[in-house]
């Protein structure tokens, strides 16, 4: 698979405790992205933040922590567009941001 030139990047922001059909939402999104054959997805956990619900995401020692999570997905515009309805269904509360990116290099190692 080779991806180059102009592409789209989705960033989905939500909480680590958010769930989709009983499992962590970030896991479900990455799996959905694989199933839809998107080029790649990465999950990042923040250390503090606030978002859609104005609840503060921060790690507490004694209480439950709902840290901010961001999933980053990059692929060509058409595939990103096809994936959006699926994503919108899964993200009940959160933010989806799309931006234009220029892909410089992407190699597929033969195994």
């Amino acid at each position: 698979m080779k991806l180059s030139g102009s592409a789209k990047m989705i960033r989905v922001h939500f909480g680590e405790d958010d769930r989709w059909q009983g499992r962590p939402l970030h896991e479900a999104i990455v799996e959905a992205a694989r199933r839809e054959d998107l080029a790649g997805a990465t999950v990042y956990r923040g250390i503090e933040g606030y978002g859609a619900s104005s609840r503060i995401h921060r790690k507490h020692l004694l209480t439950s922590s709902d840290l901010p999570v961001m999933v980053c997905i990059i692929d060509e515009a058409a595939k990103i567009q096809r994936f959006l309805p699926i994503l919108e269904q899964m993200v009940a509360e959160g933010l989806i941001a799309i931006s234009d990116v220029e892909v410089i290099r992407y190699t597929h190692r033969e195994e």
Binding site: G40, V43, Y44, E102, I104, R105
Partner: protein, 149 residues
């Protein structure tokens, strides 16, 4: 620009040496307005000449006087060759996703690309436009550029 590019290709041998040599003081840099944000997606276990690739890239960015870089470690994901990166607490080797975020003027980012291409054998490099609002550079503690989007 081509001349500079060629010189910097030769500089790719520098990063390892620069790790040992005392670092020259970086000139004060002020970035304003339009800039490029370069994100480099690699694996935590990727190596370059025996050291961690992300460390090597950070050092080579410094050696090439790029304004700033931040390394992020992801908790899971998949990428260039569909290997699945996932944090496993008991596993000895877990190749987590790493993302380096680099911001500087477009010409400097583009001049750096040939060097990066030599180092990144598999991975994704993406560029996007950013407006840089504020940038301070302290010589004793090199600051990271702040992206507001």
């Amino acid at each position: 620009m081509v001349g500079e590019g060629l010189i910097e290709i030769q500089d790719t041998t520098v990063p390892k040496a620069s790790a040992q040599a005392p670092r020259p003081a970086l000139p004060h840099v002020a970035l304003q307005g339009k800039a490029k944000l370069m994100r480099i997606f690699i694996g935590k276990d990727d190596k370059w000449r025996g050291k961690n690739l992300y460390d090597a890239i950070v050092e080579s960015l410094r050696a090439n006087d790029i304004a700033g870089v931040t390394v992020y470690r992801g908790i899971s994901g998949y990428g260039a060759h569909r290997r699945f990166h996932k944090e496993k607490r008991l596993s000895l080797s877990s190749d987590l996703p790493i993302m380096l975020s680099v911001i500087d003027e477009e010409s400097k980012i583009r001049a750096y690309l040939p060097i990066l291409e030599q180092m990144v054998h598999e991975g994704l490099v993406v560029l996007s436009d950013v407006d840089v609002i504020k940038y301070t550079h302290r010589l004793d503690h090199p600051a990271e550029p702040q992206e507001r989007s």
